[in-house]
Amino acid sequence: MKVRLKLFSVARDLAGFHELEVELEQKARASSVLDVLVQRNPHFKDWKPSLRIAVNQEYVHADHALRDGDEVAIIPPVSGG
């Protein structure tokens, strides 16, 4: 399946891109995208515990099952206000 990955703030800086279409295995979970990011930049490993994941603009748990066409966002610790 293909998902559209969106990165913000420090996650975008670490990855070096804001948006990317990624190909994942059929039974991919939300956490699968983090594994993809760790492969691209090992520093993501240190960040993993503090990153949240949103699918189609809703926060999800790491084991959330992804579907083809999902918009998956990596949400570093937020700091609005």
Binding site: D13, A73, G81
Partner: protein, 144 residues
Amino acid sequence: MISLTLHPIDIGAAINQVITPTSGGLNVFIGTTRNHSFAREVKLLEYEAYEPMALHTIEQIEREAREKWPIYGVAIVHRLGRVPVGEASVVIAVSAAHRNEAFEACRFLIDTLKREVPIWKREHFVDGTSEWSGAKPAKKAKLS
């Protein structure tokens, strides 16, 4: 009224939005750019958002506040882009029949916004450097 804006926030407009004939008072929280962060001199803050999700999440927390307190008008405006020292980055105005509900709901809205809404601030320091606020990897954060 919920909005994200690249321009200075019209605080008066946000307040006027929430005044209703049934309101006995309103509470306003205004977050402004502070000139220091952990003893470092700050020149300005730069905000970015995952905009559609930020709007959607603010709508959710407004709904939650309305379920918890009998409030009337709610205005939540967050500025994006560069916000110089002294200018407002966020304005939350809440009206209710009585002050307690307005105070409590307003506090809940700003506290929850800061925890849940996908908006990030980058601190630009007077010395020319900049960094994402509070952005430390979990491992290092535990040590500090």
